[in-house]
């Protein structure tokens, strides 16, 4: 016993032999370096991925937030009875209103002490071409205002708006036939006088789309309604159908060819490109069934078919997570198979099912490609649908389709709108996902 201890003691005392684990030789050093490098690769991959996310979000925010403010020109317009009657009698009514506004604007300039040798027509270019229509709408809605002087906040043209937001510079205007640097000098002085101001732009959130020449008027509100009706269709159809299909596959389906066929179909449909669903919608719903083009109903049907596999897959997972003891207990006290599922398993799986459905809806809300094929682009979604039936059947756009439409237009003023639209879309998606997460956290049950 003492011998062995002495021997080991001696072994420690002797210098480490070649190849000892304690001495770091060149091979080990190389291997350790490789290890560190490998770990670095992994870490940098994660960081690069996160950087992409940050870059994407930063781009969206920096380009999109300006869409939420808009430049307005505050002008007191005297609404003389004689002038308005003359304008209403003429054929091009809004151009007469333009003239009224133009005179009022010139008065504003002179009372603010801004000297200019520009003609009224040139000054008019600083205002949106939709300004006259909005004055006329006000007069028609409030006939009592005729004879008084009413102060209007009129939209400035998109160039003026772009100048105040830093998108348009004096150099850009050299080749621009609409506006020149002299206009911008006036804008600067009006801005200092508080007559031209940027304000929060409710019209962008609730308003309708406008034609190519009036980016300052375009809003996403109407297409938001289109998206809403579409999501209604998706929810009403895909939740019951998805749940029914999952219950069958998870609880009742016998193991046979037919069941296998359904399973294979579902997993394949989940991976079919979304544009193919658009082709299906075009051929089946519009060509074959003659449903109206561009209608949210058709869009909803197509998106339902597209989201069904997602919902079925998540519903099956939450049905599967209900332990068999629940089913056995129900069967044991005399419930039928159907009763055990509908009275016990389904309510317990409901939070999971709802979470899956919300995530499916969020996916459907952001989907664009199939909507392009059933005609939800290419026109101006200018009217708020009147009534529920019109909401489903009248041509409308959807938020992502509207964003695509803006991205395609030539005027860069629309790009700002597209980014702004994306912010709204992402806010909706974020809200839906947060609701889903809260539902999951709040009701998740560990068996």
């Amino acid at each position: 016993m003492t011998d062995t201890t002495a021997q080991t003691g001696g072994a420690v005392a002797t210098p480490a032999r070649k190849g000892s684990l304690l001495e770091v030789d060149s091979l080990t050093r190389k291997r350790n370096a490789a290890e560190a490098r490998f770990k670095m690769y992994g870490l940098s991959a994660v960081i690069v991925g996160l950087l992409f996310l940050v870059a994407l979000l930063a781009t969206i925010l920096s380009n999109g937030t300006s869409a939420f403010t808009q430049t307005f020109i505050t002008i007191p317009v005297p609404l003389e009875r004689a002038e308005i009657e003359a304008a209403e009698k003429s054929i091009v009514k809004t151009s007469k209103y333009r003239a009224i506004i133009g005179t009022a604007f010139a008065n504003v300039l002179s009372s603010a002490g801004i000297e200019t040798d520009m003609s009224a027509k040139d000054l008019d270019k600083m205002m949106s071409s939709g300004a006259a229509a909005s004055v006329r709408d006000f007069v028609l809605a409030n006939p009592g205002s005729i004879g008084t002087t009413h102060t209007f906040d009129l939209l400035a043209s998109s160039r003026v708006d772009g100048y105040l937001k830093g998108r348009v510079t004096r150099e850009d205007l050299i080749n621009d036939k609409n506006l020149d640097a002299a206009h911008l000098d006036i804008v600067d002085r009006l801005n200092a006088a508080g007559i031209v101001q940027k304000r929060f732009n409710w019209q962008f959130i609730f308003g309708a789309d406008a034609s190519d020449s009036r980016p300052e008027q375009a809003g996403i509100g109407v297409s938001m309604i289109g998206s809403f009706f579409m999501m209604l269709v998706v929810l009403v159809l895909s939740l019951p159908i998805g749940v029914a299909a999952s219950i069958y596959l998870e609880e009742f389906a016998p193991k046979n060819r037919f069941t296998d066929l359904i399973e294979v179909n579902i997993s394949n449909l989940a991976a079919v490109p979304s544009i193919v669903f658009g082709i299906l919608g075009l051929a089946a719903f519009i060509q074959f069934a003659h449903l109206p083009q561009s209608a949210p109903l058709v869009g909803g049907l197509v998106l339902t078919l597209m989201t069904l596999p997602t919902i079925i897959i998540s519903t099956r997972a939450s049905l599967k997570s209900v332990p068999p003891s629940i089913r056995n207990a129900a069967l044991g006290v005399g419930a039928s198979k159907m009763q055990s599922v509908f009275h016990h398993v389904l309510p317990l799986a409901m939070p999971g099912i709802l979470t899956g459905t919300i995530i499916g809806l969020a996916q459907a809300l952001g989907e664009t490609a199939p909507l392009l094929l059933i005609g939800m682009v290419g026109f101006i979604a200018s009217n708020v649908p009147d009534g529920v039936a019109a909401g489903f059947l009248d041509p409308n756009s959807a938020m992502p389709a509207q964003i695509y439409e803006w991205a395609k237009r030539a005027d860069p003023a629309f790009y700002e709108r597209a980014w702004g639209g994306i912010i709204i879309l992402l806010l909706f998606l974020m809200t839906m996902n947060i609701i889903a997460i809260i539902l999951r956290r709040r009701f998740e049950r560990r068996w």
């Binding site: 490098r37 996160l50 359904i262 544009i275 082709i279 299906l280 079925i312 952001g366 991205a407």
Partner: protein, 489 residues
């Protein structure tokens, strides 16, 4: 009776069926629910379903049948002469518009019902009269169209009447059946459950129906396309130049080339990043890092593709031009415009990172811990374990994940529509604008082309090709993934 009212009446009759079924059963049991075979509500639901389902089936079959019958009857009235001038379909849509206008005129009180059925173009200016109620017609109404429209209205109103009668009769027959059958010995629960079971089966079959629908809608239109345009030229043509005046060259190869090129770049970006991220997150990262980084990466997957499209068009494209374009940082002048294969590929790569990483993560986690322990126990470093044990073991699954990502890339639409350009060309330069299969499906079907022209129909042939390619990739990928999973379970 108009359709919404009819549906409402049908629902009301079904509710009556519920009350009747429940009431009859309770009456036959003398008010004592314990004497019934099933719970009282099952008798009610039995009544509801028997009143509703047959009548609803009649209604669903009637709707298309009626429109087909009326169409054939009315289009038989249109002489061949006017059908030769414009297509029969156009004349029919004119007839429908006039009929609709007459309906509106009657509703608005401009015409009485008899006038609407008897006015003649010889005596009245129908176009003007209809214009008064807000129905604008492109041309004057010929007497033939007007007569056809009047016939159309007459047939429609007869059809609607018959439809109402048939549906209500079916619902009443159901009620009668309930009245006779609902008594205490009737096994209502079994009957209701059998029906519910069929409803469940029907819902599950929608997946099959969707696939069949996709295949049919693709095949019919593709066959029509190939009858107008030779299949050989489509599959092996080297030029894509549709011209709506005719004489288009519709070769798929340039589109397919760009699709594969963009997908290749996307995979070259996403596979290394995604795979390394997955390895790091599952093998190295602590729980805290994992809990933050994994959901954040997955946010990238939840962002809609239109956002990526805009990102490519307005941010990445101009950025790449600043680097590789004329007068750019590198001074190489390779890139003319912002839209290019590289732009779309890079952005698509970003989109696919979370897809690759979460799939690979699952697969790496499925490798049994014993294999890791064995390798580490033999003295391998962590990275050697990953490279020599885990990755080879997970390889089939990772290949499956890459194939799935590839199929996602090939089918992606919005990024290429906005980021890749519109000109089809066969070129090796990744900084040139090219166009893909999906982008051309969109442009051919959203243009002004006549739906029956080869220029529009080609989109279905493109869709068919896309569907077959992605389906093939998916089937192979799912097969590999499934087979691999079985090894360790």
């Amino acid at each position: 009776m108009s359709l919404p009212i009819l549906v409402f009446v049908l629902l009301a009759l079904s509710v009556a069926g519920y009350v009747l079924g429940r009431g009859r059963a309770m009456a036959s049991a003398g008010g004592d629910a314990r004497k019934l075979h099933s719970l009282p509500n099952y008798y009610g639901w039995f009544g509801f379903l028997v009143a509703l389902l047959p009548a609803a089936l009649v209604l669903l079959l009637w709707l298309p049948a009626q429109s087909v019958v009326i169409d054939t009857q009315v289009s038989a009235m249109i002489s061949d002469r006017s059908a030769a001038e414009s297509s029969r379909g156009l004349v029919m849509s004119d007839v429908e518009r006039v009929a609709e206008g007459l309906d509106l005129a009657v509703d608005a009180g401009v015409l009485t019902e008899e006038q609407a059925a008897s006015i003649r173009t010889e005596f009245t200016d129908v176009r003007e009269r209809l214009g008064e109620v807000g129905v604008a017609l492109g041309s004057d109404v010929t007497s033939e169209t007007l007569q056809a429209a009047q016939r159309y209205r007459a047939l429609s109103s007869t059809g609607d009447l018959l439809r109402t009668l048939a549906v209500v009769a079916a619902a009443l027959a159901g009620l009668a059946f309930v009245y006779r059958r609902a008594d205490s010995t009737f096994r209502a629960r079994n009957a209701v459950e059998a029906v519910v079971r069929w409803i469940l089966i029907l819902a599950a079959s929608i997946a099959i129906l969707t696939t069949v629908g996709i295949i049919l809608s693709l095949i019919f239109n593709t066959v029509e396309f190939f009858s107008l345009y030779p299949a050989w030229d489509f599959f092996f043509g080297l030029t894509w130049s549709p011209s709506f005046g005719g004489g288009s060259e519709l070769g798929i190869l340039p589109l397919l080339w760009a699709t594969l090129y963009i997908s290749f770049i996307a995979l070259a970006v996403s596979v290394p990043i995604g795979l390394f991220a997955a390895i790091y997150l599952s093998e190295y990262a602590g729980p805290a890092v994992r809990a933050v980084a994994k959901p954040l990466l997955e946010v990238l997957a939840g962002i809609p593709t239109i956002v990526y499209g805009l990102f490519a068009l307005l941010t990445v494209g101009p950025l790449l031009v600043d680097i590789f374009g004329d007068g750019g940082v590198l001074g190489v002048g390779w890139m003319g415009g912002g839209t290019a294969v590289m732009t779309a590929g890079l952005v698509m790569g970003i989109m696919l990172i979370p897809f690759v990483s979460s799939l690979s993560d699952d697969i790496i986690n499925a490798v049994p811990q014993a294999m890791r322990d064995g390798s580490l126990g033999l003295g391998a470093t962590h990275s050697e374990t990953v490279k020599q044990v885990i990755l080879p073991a997970a390889l089939p699954g990772i290949v499956g994940a890459i194939l799935l990502a590839g199929s996602r890339a090939i089918g992606e639409t919005m990024i290429v529509v906005l980021g890749a350009g519109a000109a089809a060309r066969l070129s090796l330069n990744p900084f040139e604008a090219m166009t893909t299969v999906t982008a051309k499906i969109v442009s051919q079907l959203t243009g002004d082309a006549d739906f029956a022209s080869p220029e529009a129909l080609v989109a279905f042939a493109l869709g068919m090709t896309l569907f077959v390619i992605t389906l093939g990739l998916n089937v192979i990928a799912l097969y590999i993934v499934r087979k691999y999973r079985e090894q360790y379970e």
